[in-house]
Amino acid sequence: MTRVAAARLGAALLGAGCVVWAAAPLVHRGWANLALVMAIAGVAAGALRLALAGVPAPEDTFLLSVPVRAWLGFLETLRRVPWEEVAAVALVWLEVMHRSRPWHTAVLGAAVIAYLLATHLAESDASPAALRPQARVLAVGAGLLALGAGAGMLPATGPGAGSALLRLVAAVALIAAAGLVLPFVAPRDTSDQ
């Protein structure tokens, strides 16, 4: 199996895994079924788009037969719609339909990021080494993911909604602080442009 095929298969499997992880156990409230359908459609169409990436579009589109025009329209739709973004939003939506399960959400977050990275590598025919410059930031992000999950597991200081809001503000402040120290974690590219 070639590297490109492996990357495409890997992206598809990661997407499928994310859908299963976010959907289990199945819930039937808050438009969860619609979110599930959107997630499945997004991941499937994204995988199909990667699989059909090499199919060329004809330069001359005059006097084509109806089936050929339909096929070209299908390809165009497949390539234009941001299926992975639809899938990502649907996955987050599916996850929030469940009761609070912070570590489950953290694993889902890591899997979705991996899915998006794998999709990008597959569509650009790049090797995983292309992500090497981002390794430090990804490590910091993983730490924040874990901290977010930990914050979600902390008991609220009080019974009111204010304590939950307080935890949320703390988590967002943590992300902002991480963003501020980023230039020191990932040095600015100093090459002469």
Binding site: V96, T119, S124, G141, L144, D189
Partner: protein, 455 residues
């Protein structure tokens, strides 16, 4: 490309020709062109942004901090990627391996980009018409080579090239589209190794054995020795038999003038094997064969309303001049020598159609005026040989009237050829597949009787 040109090309959407030129000698001198890039967020960045914003929105709405954590990696990647520097302009070089190629010949074009910094480069090539890629049409890296073969003669655009630069974090993409230089594609010469030789040759040194005696190498006969003959040419066996000194005589070696007359009035048949395709390929083959035999070869291209010409010349470069002349006439321009308006050969200068020249015609014989021109030339005393390149019939539907029309058309064509033969103009048919030696075999085995030119 000058800086102003580059600015203009960038202003028109970031596209511009790389502008690799060619020197008169035919060697390539690649010139770099500076072109502007249009940077925008990559799909990857948009996906990360969507995930981050969706997770933050959900976290705020549901007040669940773990979703803020879910948004963190995506937002951090985006924040870190913003600090990457991206070049606004890059320098591109395009270097084709040649600017002239024959049909089916393998050609390569090397692309180089400079000033891209640490960005990765992705090249995607969209071949032009009648350009057949011989390898991958996409490549990565600061250098790329694309190989292709032009499929049909003419000036061909190699195509366009999409250049995409990605920054180190792959969050932004710089796009650029450039037009690749054009390529002059010559018709692939057919195979021809033998030549039709006139019985009366010009008084010029060459490689054809003439009927007169001279200093050639082909044995012509034996005659009696006269004072002044070279001693080494004495034929001792003949001298012994006859009792008197006999010397060998040899045929003189002369050259001839050959004028290729290409009929460009009708182009019928499948593209790639049409009458004009065959005429150009046949003329190129004939030019090469006669020039190899040290003959002087020229060309006349006949079109509606004008006749382009190149006077006969010698040497290997004359093949290219002839082909250039034919292609220039096909494009509607003048050949290297010139063109005259009107369809009469009488207005051609003597240099273009020298008296006593062998005229080899490549024509489908569909234009009545051209046939009349041939008759006129024959009556003026030129020795003409017609290579018929018509290999297509009119389309016919299964109706009796259509079949009848087709029969009449065929009979008319046969009548045209018959009338030319009656005038002493041989007509041979060539299908473009076999070697030209085969249809010309009847006329290459012995000298062709030359008519006296009466210009």
């Amino acid at each position: 490309m000058s800086g102003d040109d580059a600015d203009r090309s960038s202003a028109s959407g970031g596209s511009g020709p790389p502008g690799s030129g060619v020197s008169p000698g035919g060697t390539e001198s690649p010139r770099a062109s500076t072109v502007s890039l249009r940077w925008r967020s990559s799909r990857h960045a948009r996906r990360l942004l969507t995930l981050g914003l969706a997770a933050l929105f959900i976290a705020t709405l549901a007040r669940r901090p773990e979703f803020a954590g879910l948004a963190a990696p995506a937002l951090l990647l985006l924040a870190a990627g913003r600090s990457q520097q991206r070049p606004s302009r890059v320098r591109l070089r395009a270097r084709p391996s040649t600017r002239r190629a024959f049909e089916g010949e393998l050609v390569a074009i090397d692309m180089t980009v400079e000033g891209q910094g640490e960005c990765s480069v992705r090249w995607t090539w969209h071949p032009g018409r009648e350009i057949e890629p011989e390898g991958a049409a996409a490549a990565d890296g600061e250098r790329a080579r694309f190989t292709f073969s032009p499929q049909r003669w003419g000036r061909r655009q190699i195509g366009t090239l999409d250049v995409m630069l990605r920054d180190r974090w792959r969050l932004a993409e710089g796009h650029l589209t450039v037009n690749l230089p054009s390529l002059d594609c010559y018709p692939a010469p057919a195979r021809q190794r033998t030549q039709v030789v006139l019985s009366r040759l010009q008084n010029r040194l060459g490689e054809h054995a003439a009927r007169t005696f001279g200093e050639g190498i082909e044995f012509a006969g034996v005659r009696e020795y006269v004072p002044g003959d070279r001693q080494r040419s004495i034929n001792w066996p003949a001298s012994t038999r006859r009792g008197r000194l006999q010397v060998n005589t040899f045929a003189a070696e002369r050259s001839q003038d050959v004028v290729l007359l290409v009929d460009g009035t009708s182009d019928v048949g499948e593209p790639g094997s049409s009458a004009l395709d065959l005429a150009l390929r046949g003329a190129a083959a004939a030019a090469r064969a006669y020039l190899d035999a040290r003959d002087r070869v020229g060309v006349i291209t006949y079109h509606w309303g004008s006749v382009g010409w190149l006077p006969p010349g010698l040497g290997g470069r004359q093949v290219y001049r002839i082909i250039d002349s034919m292609l220039a006439s096909e494009r509607g321009g003048e050949g290297p020598a010139g063109a005259v308006h009107g369809t009469s050969m009488r207005r051609l200068p003597r240099a273009a159609l020298p008296p006593g020249a062998l005229v080899v015609v490549f024509s489908p014989l569909l234009d009545q005026r051209f046939v009349e021109t041939l008759r006129d030339m024959r009556e003026r005393g030129f020795t003409i040989l017609v290579v018929d390149v018509l290999n297509a019939d009119p389309p016919v539907r299964p109706r009796s009237t259509d079949r009848m029309a087709r029969r009449i058309w065929r009979m008319e064509q046969e009548a045209i050829r018959f009338s030319l033969r009656e005038l002493g103009v041989p007509v041979v048919h060539w299908d473009g597949i076999v070697s030209l030696d085969l249809p010309l075999a009847r006329y290459t085995r012995r000298p062709m009787i030359a008519s006296g030119a009466r210009r």
